[in-house]
C-alpha cells in the first residue's frame, strides 16, 4: 500500500513536471508583451512576418508616424457616427441632415480605409515578397471581412 501511494505521488509529479516544462518550452517563442510593455502588436508583427532588424525599424517608424493620423480618423469617425446616431434618435422622419450625416460618415470611413491601405502598402514594401503578400492578404481580409480569422485558420 505504501509503495503504491509513493508510486501514485511520483505519477502526479512526473505528469505535472513534464507538462509544465514542455508547455513553457513550446510557448517560449510567443512574445506576449515586449520588455517595456509597449508595441506588443509590433513585436508580434516582427515574429509573424519574419522582419529583419532593419525592416522592423522601418515598420516601427511608419507605425509611429501613422498612429496620430489613425487616431485623428478615429476621432472624426466617432464624431460623425454620434451625429448620425443622435439624428436617428431625435427625428421621427427623414430629413436632409440625415443624408448629410450619412454622407459625412461614409466619406470619413472611405478616408480611413484609404489611409490605412496606404500605410499597409508602405509597410508591405519593407517586407520580403512572400511576407509582403501574406501581410497584404491579412489587411484585405480585415477590410473585406472585418476579421483576419480566416487567414489564420487557413494557415493552420
Amino acid at each position: 500500500m505504501k509503495k503504491f501511494l509513493i508510486l501514485l505521488g511520483l505519477v502526479v509529479v512526473v505528469g505535472a513536471v513534464s507538462y509544465y516544462i514542455c508547455y513553457h518550452r513550446a510557448m517560449a517563442s510567443v512574445v506576449v508583451v515586449t520588455p517595456d510593455g509597449t508595441d506588443a502588436e509590433l513585436a508580434w508583427l516582427k515574429g509573424e512576418f519574419v522582419l529583419t532588424p532593419a525592416q522592423y525599424e522601418k515598420v516601427l517608424a511608419l507605425h509611429h508616424a501613422y498612429r496620430p493620423v489613425c487616431a485623428d480618423h478615429c476621432r472624426r469617425y466617432i464624431a460623425a457616427h454620434r451625429r448620425l446616431a443622435d439624428l436617428l434618435k431625435e427625428r421621427a422622419s427623414w430629413s436632409p441632415e440625415m443624408d448629410t450625416a450619412f454622407a459625412e460618415q461614409a466619406r470619413i470611413q472611405s478616408e480611413c480605409h484609404a489611409s490605412m491601405l496606404k500605410y499597409a502598402y508602405d509597410v508591405a514594401a519593407c517586407m520580403s515578397p512572400e511576407q509582403s503578400r501574406r501581410y497584404l492578404e491579412m489587411i484585405k481580409m480585415q477590410l473585406i471581412e472585418g476579421d483576419p480569422a480566416g487567414m489564420f485558420a487557413a494557415s493552420r
Binding site: C22, Y23, S115, D147, R156
Partner: protein, 115 residues
C-alpha cells in the same frame, strides 16, 4: 448349460433397473455450491486487482513503464495545448495589430468598451 445360464442372466440384467433415491436436500446443496463458487469468483477479481495494484504495479518494471507513459502523456497534452494557445495568440495579436491601424476596428472596440 453355461449358455443357458448366460441367456438367463442377460435377460435378468436387461430388465434390471436402478432407481436410486436422491440424497436428501440434493437440489438445495447444488444451488448452495453454485452460490459459493460465484461468490469466490467475485472475490477473486477484487483480490487479483488489489494484488496487481498494490504488489505488482509498484515493482520496478511496471512502475517505470507507468512513469514513462505518464511523462509521454504530459508532453503530448502540453504540446497540444501549447499549439492551440499559439494559434489563439497569433489571431489575437493580428486583431490587436489591425485594431491599432484600422480606425473602424478602433471605433468598434471603443464602442464596445463604452457599453
Amino acid at each position: 448349460m453355461n449358455k443357458n445360464q448366460d441367456s438367463k442372466l442377460r435377460e435378468v440384467l436387461g430388465t434390471w433397473e436402478v432407481n436410486p433415491r436422491p440424497a436428501p436436500h440434493f437440489k438445495a446443496a447444488v444451488w448452495q455450491r453454485i452460490a459459493v463458487q460465484e461468490a469466490r469468483a467475485t472475490t477473486g477479481i477484487w483480490s487479483t486487482l488489489r494484488d496487481w495494484l498494490f504488489v505488482q504495479l509498484p515493482k520496478p518494471a511496471y512502475a517505470a513503464a507507468l512513469l514513462a507513459v505518464t511523462a509521454i502523456t504530459g508532453v503530448t497534452v502540453a504540446n497540444t495545448r501549447a499549439e492551440r494557445a499559439r494559434e489563439q495568440y497569433r489571431l489575437d495579436s493580428a486583431r490587436h495589430y489591425l485594431a491599432s491601424i484600422d480606425p473602424m476596428a478602433m471605433t468598434a472596440s471603443a464602442s464596445r468598451a463604452l457599453r
